[in-house]
């Protein structure tokens, strides 16, 4: 396991073949579709994607058209992991061993309504790759808050800013002791591609939590999507890591940010987004404290 035979992707080595065709119904600047486009280049044509109710359902546009050159099975909101488990069972019984089964779900269908079926699949060790693209709210229905919405963020159901903290789904998945848990960010597609590749190489349940900035929901201009994701990582608000074989490993720019002073000021991440316009200094101080806590926890898991 580990790095044997693991050839990392580079920008040049990613295929030019497009598996998620242009002219889909995603918002301009959507990070989730950006990541799916790259993800399918990694996964290839022998891939089945399970999509529960979320932005990615609607992004597919109207029947009889779809942007996807790989099979997509649309399922109910709570059901992506269970549906994926059923698909894997059918492939197994038919002796088909070389097809990726990938759940591509939003934070709602993962952290909230979908957590039960995800937990069940993880506990059973169903052979799937679960990617949660986290735009931190129920964006498909117009930006209502989810368990994954961060503290202080304004949504249509937390108008003055969410008071609860963000549910730690990667931590929950680590507690299930599945073979692979990783965080990623759409602004670092090669890092994401390599994590997907590693997930493909592992049997059992793999989980990737992909921070996915959303222009209309986070209230920033569409062209800033990559910059917003970069600021999330560079301020330390989002930590890039992989967790397998019992320990965490920081990846990408997060490697250099274990030391607090190396991180950009959190305000740079918050000020570019309209959803944090209500965050006063005490709230920001609380956010900073939580970020430090999270860094401590992850660094603790990085021990040799």
């Amino acid at each position: 396991m580990g790095n044997e035979g693991f050839k990392a992707f580079t920008l040049k080595s990613l295929t030019d073949e497009e598996y998620y065709l242009p002219g889909n119904a995603a918002c301009p600047g959507c990070a989730a579709v950006m990541a799916l486009r790259i993800g399918l280049k990694v996964l290839g044509p022998r891939t089945i994607v399970v999509v529960p109710a979320c932005c990615m359902s609607v992004v597919q546009g109207y029947y009889p058209k779809t942007p996807s050159k790989v099979p997509i099975f649309n399922t109910a909101f709570a059901a992506s992991a269970a549906t994926g488990a059923g698909i894997r069972a059918a492939l197994d019984i038919k002796g088909i061993r070389d097809v990726n089964v990938v759940c591509w779900a939003g934070d709602g269908g993962t952290a909230d309504i979908g957590i039960q079926s995800l937990s069940g699949a993880a506990e059973r060790g169903d052979d799937l790759i679960y990617v949660c693209y986290d735009n931190e709210a129920y964006m498909n229905t117009g930006t209502q808050r989810s368990g994954s919405t961060p503290e202080g963020a304004r949504t249509t159901t937390t108008i003055t800013g969410k008071s609860e903290w963000k549910k730690d789904v990667p931590g929950i998945m680590m507690a299930h002791r599945i073979p692979y848990v990783a965080t990623a960010c759409t602004s670092y597609p090669i890092d994401f591609a390599n994590k997907l590749r590693r997930a493909v190489s592992m049997k059992g349940t793999s989980y990737i939590h992909l921070l996915s900035p959303c222009p209309p929901g986070w209230r920033y201009p569409a062209e800033k999507t990559v910059e917003v994701g970069k600021l999330a990582v560079e301020t330390g608000a989002w930590i890039l890591y992989e967790w397998f074989e019992g320990r965490c490993r920081l990846t990408g720019p997060s490697i250099g940010l274990a030391e607090r002073s190396k991180r950009r000021p959190l305000e740079q991440y918050l000020e570019i987004q309209g959803r944090f316009s209500n965050a006063d200094p005490s709230k920001i101080a609380e956010m900073r404290r939580r970020i430090d806590e999270e860094w401590e926890r992850i660094l603790g898991l990085c021990h040799d």
Partner: protein, 83 residues
């Protein structure tokens, strides 16, 4: 396959999304360093790269989000108002 409502892959599944935009990206090939960050980050996949590393935009579906211009390090892409 079975006679069921199954959708087939096609460009423009969301319509003629090129009509959505207000600005269009213009590539100045003299400044382009062929780093392909625009190709990597285009959410739509309408920035294409050729065998010699050159890039171009498929305007039919470009939504004008402006990400390509933002990530272009040599500032070879500019967003030009169309509407």
């Amino acid at each position: 396959m079975v006679d069921a409502p199954l959708s087939k892959a096609t460009e423009g599944a969301g319509g003629l999304t090129g009509m959505w935009r207000i600005k269009r990206p213009e590539v100045d090939s003299s400044r382009c360093t062929k780093c392909h960050l625009c190709w990597l980050f285009c959410p739509e996949g309408v920035v294409r790269r050729g065998s010699k590393g050159e890039v171009w935009v498929v305007y039919e579906f470009c939504k004008g989000c402006g990400i390509c211009a933002e990530v272009c390090t040599p500032r070879a892409i500019s967003m030009v108002r169309e509407v």
